[in-house]
């Protein structure tokens, strides 16, 4: 699948996302409130099938950052959202990827970002 096709599909699945086309991949930036719903759409999209979670981490102490992978597309796709304030929580993505629990545990332990519904922390 060409980069343009991937971009069109990403725009279709995540219309509210700010899409940045960088040299080494495509990044979608979404508001915290759209974090889970956007990831769900990308995961369930029959054309994209972004069903692999390569890494979930925090960038610059302020942004949640996930690297997604798919067997159908050869593009690197990342999704990020601003970390919520200390009173708020971000929803867990463990039900999509069980592996995310240890990433989420680390996000809580190292950066203090609270994850709602996370098993380990």
């Amino acid at each position: 699948m060409h980069k343009e096709q991937v971009l069109a599909l990403l725009k279709q699945e995540a219309p509210n996302a700010k899409i940045d086309i960088a040299e080494f991949g495509i990044t979608l930036e979404v508001p915290s409130s759209d974090w889970l719903s956007t990831i769900e759409k990308l995961y369930n999209s029959p054309q994209l099938k972004l069903k692999k979670l390569k890494v979930l981490t925090v960038r610059a102490n302020t942004f949640l950052w996930a690297e997604l992978g798919s067997e159908l597309i050869n593009e690197r796709v990342s999704i990020s959202c601003p970390a919520p304030s200390s009173e708020n929580k971000i929803p867990s993505i463990q039900y999509l990827w069980p592996l995310a629990d240890w990433f989420e545990r680390e996000i809580f332990s190292v950066w203090g970002i609270k994850i709602e519904g996370a098993e380990s922390p």
Partner: protein
């Protein structure tokens, strides 16, 4: 029902790993009814250290993530820095890297065989495998001074020129490696103890591999293939399949090293100093290590230090499934199951 708390100190568990871990088991009549693996006791904050020093120095921290796959971590981190910094590695340097990586894969897999032998109580085969592995450590020592390959791969290429003596010794070690495989086939792989203990033990289904993101030999043993790695004689996902997959990969790596021994002329490295400052961007690189796909996510900030580095070890995904694999098996098989997954706690607690 009784609760048994087992630590590495009193039962040999996942001894192929550096670092400590705990395994809390509940057992009923010797059958495990609940298992919870715990780790994080020796987290070294390698990624924080890597952010605190220039790119060239951070390489030394990256390779400490897993002592059994040090050149792989150095390679994947270097590849990330080379990508953001537009550094072109000379062809000779690339070939030497390939040789070092495949040699490292062989020694890691032989270490795996030795740990399985030890779990089964086959101490002579355990020693036999370790003796063979020493030959690969000798090669690394000859090349870079470190028996585990620390400092062999640097940003921009490799640490040293490969001498004729090194290449000659590589050829000899490859010949020995083929003989080793013949002997190990008769003494170990056809051993009824190994066959009866590993066959049907700790199945990992294809769907679980996909769901948990397990990669490397553990995934290939369950019939999930990425890249051009060979298939073992068995692909049904049990411990015996994981064992035979690694034996097959040793053969594959021996052939791969042999093909790379004709090195092109030219430089083996380009100079990169500690003032090297790539542009502000981010990159994700990966390499197929001995335990699966190693990912590095690097954010460069425009100066000589990384803004963020994240090493993603493959053992992470395999370890996630240990709790489920141990349910319903005999307590005696716990160590064997963990060893069959070839988990490195060193890279998990990086």
């Amino acid at each position: 029902m009784s609760t048994t708390i087992i630590h590495e100190s009193n039962l040999m568990l996942a001894s192929s790993s550096a670092g400590y871990h705990g395994l809390i088991l509940e057992e009923d009549g010797g059958i495990i009814t609940k298992a919870k693996i715990k780790f994080g006791y020796t987290h070294r904050q390698l990624e924080a250290c890597m952010r605190a020093v220039p790119y060239t120095m951070a390489n030394a921290f990256a390779e400490k993530a897993d002592f059994l796959a040090a050149p792989f971590y150095a390679f994947v981190y270097s590849a990330a820095v080379e990508a953001v910094g537009n550094i072109i590695v000379p062809p000779r340097g690339k070939k030497i890297r390939s040789i070092l990586l495949e040699l490292c894969r062989i020694q890691s897999h032989i270490f795996f065989l030795s740990q399985i032998a030890r779990s089964l109580g086959l101490t002579q085969i355990h020693q036999f495998c370790l003796r063979e592995r020493e030959k690969y450590c000798d090669l690394f020592e000859l090349y870079c001074g470190s028996r585990l390959g620390f400092g062999a791969i640097l940003i921009g290429g490799v640490a040293e020129e490969s001498t004729d003596g090194f290449l000659f010794k590589c050829e000899k070690t490859l010949r020995d490696g083929r003989e080793f495989l013949i002997e190990i086939q008769e003494a170990f792989i056809n051993n009824p103890i190994l066959q009866s203990r590993l066959r049907g033990l700790a199945y990992i289904r294809k769907e679980v591999v996909m769901r948990l993101g397990i990669t490397g030999p553990n995934a290939r043993a369950s019939g999930v293939f990425f890249g051009d790695f060979p298939s073992g004689s068995l692909n049904n996902g049990d411990s015996l399949s994981r064992f035979s997959q690694r034996v097959e990969e040793i053969k594959h790596s021996l052939n791969a090293v042999e093909k790379e021994l004709n090195l092109p002329e030219g430089a083996y490295s380009v100079d990169v100093d500690d003032k090297f400052s790539p542009r502000k961007t981010n990159v994700l690189t990966n390499v197929e290590g001995p335990r699966g796909q190693i990912n590095v996510l690097l954010f460069s900030s425009g100066n000589n230090r990384a803004e963020q580095v994240r090493l993603v070890p493959p053992s992470y995904a395999s370890l996630r499934h240990v709790d489920d694999l141990l349910l319903g098996v005999h307590i005696d098989d716990a160590a064997l199951i963990i060893n069959s997954l070839d988990i490195s706690f060193s890279e998990v607690d990086r």
